[in-house]
Each structure stands twice: as structure tokens, then as C-alpha cells.
Symmetry: C2
Subunit: 133 residues, 2 copies
DNA sequence: CTGGATCCCGAGTGATACTG
DNA sequence: CAGTATCACTCGGGATCCAG
């Protein structure tokens, strides 16, 4: 969707489609990887949620990581941050449509994980020396 | 929203379905996160591939990380390792059907990434102070 | 309440050298 | 060819204290 001009000797660089896939996939994987992004996104998906609510909901996250992760998600346009200049500061975070769409895609992975959860566990037991029998 | 059962003292631990989703997703995300797993999987998906071939194909990976990542993927049953006791040792890795199915799921993420690549880039520019204008 | 600033430790990873 | 071993270093992330 980047052009319609025709007579240009396009230098598309012959990108190997598979390399491109690996790269792009890597970007999105990195975006949601880590312990916290998904948990936070899941909460913010249900509607506006406050900082403290997230702190309790995500469970186990430190204030520092909550802040940092929140900033990154906001930066990528996955979360909107709304500040209400009230006396006790009030800030709400909510997932953007883009983030919700991401979740739809993640569902595919979730399905895969659930379908193969046992297979993987079994594979590990075997690999680890199928000792504890 | 935590129950509807009345008479049974079920010990199902009352797992919040959303927590479960976050957890499972996290497992699979962690499995393929990192710089290397995807690249390796992509190569091994095309057919049996040798250690050295991977070392060149993945490009940028160190021998150490290649070995470690390979071991993890094998452990999870995503890769099969075949050793041919020939004079120069020959080892081949190939993606299992399970891994290929995983790739199908990853495709959903890839689609999302491509659809929103520009939006994200734009969001970042804005967030970063839309300076370099 | 919401977050920024520091300090610090351990896991992850690259570089390099060695081996069956 | 296909790894393994070691070392040094970076960096994520927790703990803690400070601030608007």
C-alpha cells in the first residue's frame, strides 16, 4: 500500500520472504514477550483500569516494572493513558483497538499451546532422562 | 464472577480463566521468544538442516546460542535431532509437525504485525516527542 | 495515588579456546 | 563437523527511597 508509481526501477532489495517473516515475527514477539505485557494488556482490555488496580491485578509485578511496561505499551500505541487532574492523581489505562486485535491473534497461539501442552510436557520428561518414573 | 456452583466442594482451585490464558500464553511466548528460536524453527521447517547450515543461515547467532536454543527446542519436542555416525559427524535437525502447526499460529501474529507496522512506528514517533520532523 | 531515581544482584549471552 | 568449557560483561528487574 505504499505506491502506485510504475516506472521506477524499484530497489526492493530482494528481501527473502522468510527472513522478513522471521524479522517481523520477532518484532511482535519481543513486543509482548516478558512476564508482564500480556497480563497488563489482558486487564486493560476489559476497560479503563487504574495504576493501583493493575498493580494488584497483575500480581507479582513490581511498581517499577509496571511503570516501565506501561510506558512501552503506551509508546507502541497499544495502551492509552488518561490523566485526570484530580486531587489524588488518577490515571487510567485502556487497551486500544489495535491491542484488542492483537489479542485475537494471540488466541491462535493460545490454542496451539493448549492443544500441545501435554505433548510438550511429555517430550520434556523424555528428554530430561525420563528419570522420575 | 467467580462461581455458580453451590453444593460441591470442588478443589478445582478456582482458576480465573483470564489468569489461565495469561499463563498459557506466557508459556508459549516464552518458548519462542528470544532472538533465535523463530529463525531456527523457520529454517528447520523446510526440511532437515545441519548444524553448520543453521549457523550460517540464522546469521548473527553464536555457536553457543545455537546449541542452547537447539537443545531447548528439541527438549520441547519442536525439533528432532538425528545423528549420523559418519566419519565427519553429521547431525540434522528438523521441525516436528507440532512445530509446523505452531508456525501456522504464528502467522496470525505476523498478519497483525504487518497490518499495524506503520501505526506502531507512528505511535512511537509521537510518543518519543515527535521531534525529528 | 502515580511515578521517577538509584543501587545492586543474578541470569543470559557473546567471545574465545578446546575436544571427540 | 558438531559441539563443550570458561570467563567476562551486559542488562533486566527487584528493593528502596524520593517527589509531584
Amino acid at each position: 500500500m505504499s505506491q502506485g508509481n510504475i516506472d521506477v526501477p524499484v530497489q526492493v532489495a530482494e528481501v527473502d520472504p522468510e527472513k522478513l517473516e522471521a524479522c517481523t515475527l520477532l518484532e511482535v514477539i519481543n513486543r509482548v514477550s516478558g512476564k508482564w505485557p500480556i497480563g497488563i494488556l489482558l486487564e486493560a482490555m476489559r476497560g479503563p483500569v487504574r495504576f493501583t488496580e493493575l498493580e494488584r491485578a497483575v500480581e507479582g509485578i513490581s511498581r517499577r516494572m509496571l511503570t516501565l511496561t506501561l510506558r512501552n505499551l503506551e509508546r507502541d500505541g497499544l495502551l492509552v493513558r488518561t490523566v485526570y487532574p484530580t486531587v489524588p492523581p488518577r490515571v487510567e489505562y485502556e487497551a486500544t483497538p489495535m491491542a484488542k486485535e492483537l489479542y485475537q491473534s494471540l488466541t491462535g497461539l493460545l490454542g496451539w499451546a493448549e492443544r500441545h501442552r501435554e505433548s510438550i510436557a511429555a517430550a520434556r520428561v523424555v528428554y530430561d532422562g525420563h528419570s522420575a518414573c
